[in-house]
């Protein structure tokens, strides 16, 4: 009887640990709570202490989005400016999102690698455009919370996007213009990441986007 109780408690703990791992682990936090985040972008986590017997509501409450805010050195509101300042523009798909890194000095970040599906802009006629591009995105998942920049949501695995890049040193790329240099691309539909950048009408094609 006693062993049954211990076994039962063991299963309960296992379930709890599994739930915690699903929610807190890696980018799972961001993925699992994507729907909730759509309703409440800026939620104040009530506490970061872990209670001994966490329940689902507690976990959900802790895995909230913490918004950071930036001043942008590059920020484009016209396609001609964006193209002028970008070496290449690609349609790409998120292949990997690395672990969240907390540097000694500086905000959290993740390294994102996208596979290049299509080259749509090549300002300088670069011959050796890579098949995949790795870049840094500010933010990540830590302590059960998703940290991201206001107006610049975290990129995720499988997500397809149009991204303009600057090669700032050989083989090293950054997204040109922060959130204004990135567009969601789903089933042929282009949607700007931020409302404050280049305006894209419904039904705009990739070719039309480049002519804006």
């Amino acid at each position: 009887m006693r062993s049954n109780v211990i076994l039962f408690q063991g299963f309960r703990k296992l379930k709890t640990v599994t739930a915690l791992a699903m929610v807190f682990g890696g980018s799972g936090c961001a993925t699992k709570l994507a729907a909730a985040d759509q309703h409440e972008d800026r939620v104040s986590p009530s506490t970061v202490d872990v209670s001994p017997t966490p329940v689902k509501e507690d976990i959900v409450q802790r895995c909230t989005t913490r918004t950071m805010s930036a001043s942008w050195a590059e920020y484009y509101r016209s396609m001609s400016e964006l193209k002028r300042n970008s070496g290449i523009g690609v349609v790409g798909t998120g292949a990997t999102v690395g672990e969240t890194v907390q540097p000694d000095i500086g905000p959290l970040f993740q390294l994102v690698t996208i596979s290049v599906d299509q080259l749509i802009w090549n300002r300088d006629g670069k011959a050796d455009v890579p098949k995949s591009i790795t870049f840094e995105q500010t933010g990540g998942v830590a302590a059960g919370s998703k940290f991201e920049l206001e107006g610049d949501p975290l990129f995720s695995v499988g997500e397809q996007a149009i991204i303009f890049f600057t090669e700032f040193s050989p083989g090293k790329y950054r997204v040109t213009g922060g959130p204004t240099g990135r567009f969601g691309f789903q089933n042929g539909r282009i949607s700007p990441v931020t409302d404050d950048g280049i305006k894209v009408a419904e039904g705009t094609t990739v070719e039309q986007l480049l002519q804006l």
């Binding site: 800026r42 104040s44 986590p45 009530s46 506490t47 913490r66 918004t67 950071m68 805010s69 930036a70 001043s71 942008w72 050195a73 590059e74 920020y75 000095i105 500086g106 905000p107 970040f109 870049f135 840094e136 500010t138 940290f147 920049l149 206001e150 107006g151 700032f168 040193s169 090293k172 950054r174 997204v175 040109t176 213009g177 922060g178 240099g181 404050d196």
Partner: protein, 204 residues
């Protein structure tokens, strides 16, 4: 002047007066739009919960580091001036001090990161009830290092605006304009405008 000309002139005056109500209506609309945009600051949704010491204001000290260890001279002056401007502005209900306190809930930093295109960043943590718990503010000298001191000041003052609880505001020449080119190069703003001050005063 013959009678035909007099008739025409009278008709024109009549037309003008007919348009007067329309002109007045348009003018009233413009005044309404302009006055509403003057009150259009955006708030982040969080504020510092502090016990007022003088009956009104926010009092907050900011931890900095010595020039020799973490902050370069340019970054030091940018943060010092960005904070001092807010502190010395009698129109804003705040008192922010730069100090060397061993611990503080607000810290300023300097980073050099060419992988990103932000030149300044504010990273808060929160307590319950819409309150900031801590705030780390970063100046990215990969970009800001090449700015004039006035433009660099526009970045640090902007970040201090976030620290006080202001959110971005696009489409107007205010300190909380999200990009430094528009904020400084186009608008010439590197300190809080009346709109920014109204926003802070609405919080504290």
């Amino acid at each position: 002047m013959n009678i035909t000309n007099v008739f025409k002139a009278t008709k024109q005056v009549g037309r003008r007066y007919k348009q007067l109500p329309i002109l007045l209506l348009v003018a009233a609309c413009m005044v309404s739009v302009l006055s509403s945009s003057a009150q259009a600051y955006n708030l982040w949704g969080f504020r510092w919960f502090t016990t007022p010491t003088s009956g009104c204001c926010l009092n907050r000290s900011v931890k900095s580091f010595t020039m020799s260890s973490f902050l370069t001279t340019d970054a030091w002056y940018a943060w010092t001036n960005g904070i001092a401007w807010w502190s010395h502005n009698n129109n804003a209900s705040i008192n922010v001090n730069m100090s060397y306190a061993s611990s503080s809930t607000v810290k300023v930093w300097e980073v050099q990161n060419p992988n990103v295109t932000w030149d300044g960043l504010s990273s808060p943590t929160f307590m319950g009830g819409g309150q900031f718990a801590t705030m780390d503010m970063f100046l990215n000298t990969t970009w800001a290092g090449g700015y004039s001191w006035q433009k660099r000041l526009s970045v640090t003052s902007h970040e201090v605006g976030h620290m006080l609880g202001l959110d971005h505001r696009s489409g107007a020449c205010t300190l909380m304009q999200p990009d430094s080119f528009t904020r400084w190069d186009s608008c010439g703003v590197n300190s809080a405008t009346a709109d920014d001050i109204n926003g802070v005063n609405s919080l504290y």
